[in-house]
């Protein structure tokens, strides 16, 4: 096969794809699905939105109790629902609780699984369609104490709001979401002593925010780069953002 100048240019363009490698978690899911003979990737019922950590989206069913258990509460392993290819190996610990204007009360919790650390958020005031449990989204595969961002919103329950949430480093005091003409800052929540890192949730308008970026701030008020673009659930289609109004 001869190589032309055109080939050289094309190879340069396709070079990033050549470097892609599957993660251990992806291979583990393949093996789990192949062994189980199941075609569904994850449990999909009761999922309303997706949390994205290390590329894995897990839709989980209603976890144990509703209501705002205090930070540090432990939900026994036996009450954690198991998903396709997902097996929890620890109890679930409540790491943060709070409330936002539209989404209402939320509760974040962590558990360990065969796919790594799992991080979940439940909107305890929002009943997921087709179920009697609260809206819940969970992602597995991330590492505790790091900075990450996922979003939840849209649909019939939260048509106008997006909840941006995730873990933050231990040294974070706040996170800030910015977009053109928009900025909102919220304080992070201290997790239990035995769980590394902090946690945050900030509500932003669902429409009109292009390239919304979330960054964390340290005790000096310095923002830490590069930040993370708010993923996927924002509707990019229409109105401008609302003016800056800190929560």
């Amino acid at each position: 096969m001869s190589t032309t100048r055109d080939d050289v240019a094309m190879r340069a363009a396709f070079a990033p794809a050549r470097g892609l490698e599957p993660t251990d978690a992806e291979v583990a899911r393949v093996l789990a699905r192949a062994r189980g003979g199941r075609r569904r990737r994850f449990r999909e019922h009761r999922l309303v939105a997706a949390a994205l950590f290390a590329g894995l989206i897990v839709a989980a069913g209603t976890a144990a109790a509703t209501g705002l258990l205090p930070v540090g509460s432990v939900i026994p392993l036996s009450k954690n629902p198991q998903g396709d290819g997902l097996t929890y190996v620890s109890d679930r610990t409540v790491v943060a609780t709070g409330r936002t204007e539209t989404a209402g009360r939320w509760r974040m919790s962590v558990a360990n699984s065969n796919l790594g650390s799992c991080f979940a958020i439940e909107l305890v005031d929002q009943v997921a369609p087709g179920s009697r449990g609260p809206m819940l989204a969970e992602g597995c595969g991330g590492a505790g104490g790091t900075f990450d961002a996922a979003s939840l919103g849209g649909g019939t329950l939260l048509p106008d709001a997006t909840l941006v949430y995730g873990p933050a480093p231990e040294g974070a005091t706040a996170v800030r979401v910015t977009a053109e003409g928009f900025s909102r800052t919220t304080r992070t929540h201290e997790g239990p002593a035995d769980i590394p890192g902090d946690f945050y949730a900030v509500e932003i308008p669902r429409k009109g925010l292009r390239n919304a970026l979330v960054k964390w701030l340290d005790t000096e008020g310095h923002t830490h780069e590069p930040g993370i673009y708010v993923p996927s659930t924002i509707d990019y289609s229409s109105e401008p953002a609302t003016p800056d109004r800190p929560q």
Partner: protein, 194 residues
């Protein structure tokens, strides 16, 4: 490497489940690189890659020639990728800037100036490929990601080599017409004919 893979295939078919992980990783990687070149996000590519790897493992008993494992994976990848691309286009997925997705996805390179360039490259390519017929995009990925020949691409696509050659030519021409790919036009490429 191909001999090692063939041995793993034989081990797997003889009931050795330990070979499954290596084959799953191999299949997932091949499919991920193909899908990663033509999908708009790594998450979409990952979905395709996982589906492909599951299908490969569950249908491996149908593979007559253990040496043809990679080609088998490519064929299954084409089927899944075409289906996914057509479904995405059929429902006219809301446009999400690829740069956002790429930033959120697992890094394709370490932080730094090189990564920014790679993100820009991937963004330009994915946007341009999205305008091409799905089969042309897949054929280009097979050529420029996996270095398959016209004959090998024809075998994967289930067509004659001349047809594969034509698909590739049309795909290249389509990319060249796209302004986002101007940086990769032959006139500005490094190096000359080899």
């Amino acid at each position: 490497l191909s001999e090692a893979i063939a041995n793993e295939v034989r081990r797997f078919l003889s009931g050795d489940q330990a070979a499954a992980e290596l084959l799953a990783r191999r299949a997932c990687g091949l499919a991920l690189r193909t899908a990663g070149a033509i999908m708009r996000s790594r998450a979409d590519a990952s979905d395709v890659a996982q589906d492909v790897a599951v299908d490969v493992l569950s249908s491996l008993h149908k593979l007559r020639d253990a040496d043809a494992f990679d080609a088998w994976v490519h064929r299954i990848t084409v089927r899944h990728a075409l289906r996914t691309l057509r479904r995405h286009r059929a429902i006219q997925l809301a446009e999400t800037p690829l740069a956002l997705l790429t930033e959120r996805d697992e890094p394709i390179a370490p932080e730094g100036p090189d990564r920014a360039a790679l993100v820009a490259t991937r963004s330009a390519l994915a946007s341009a490929l999205a305008e091409l017929p799905p089969k042309q995009g897949i054929a280009l990925a097979l050529r420029y990601v996996h270095d398959l020949s016209d004959a090998e691409i024809a075998s994967v696509l289930g067509c004659r080599p001349g047809t594969a050659h034509s698909i590739l030519s049309r795909g290249r021409a389509g990319l060249r017409r796209d302004a986002r790919m101007a940086e990769f036009a032959p006139t500005t490429a490094a190096g000359g004919p080899q």
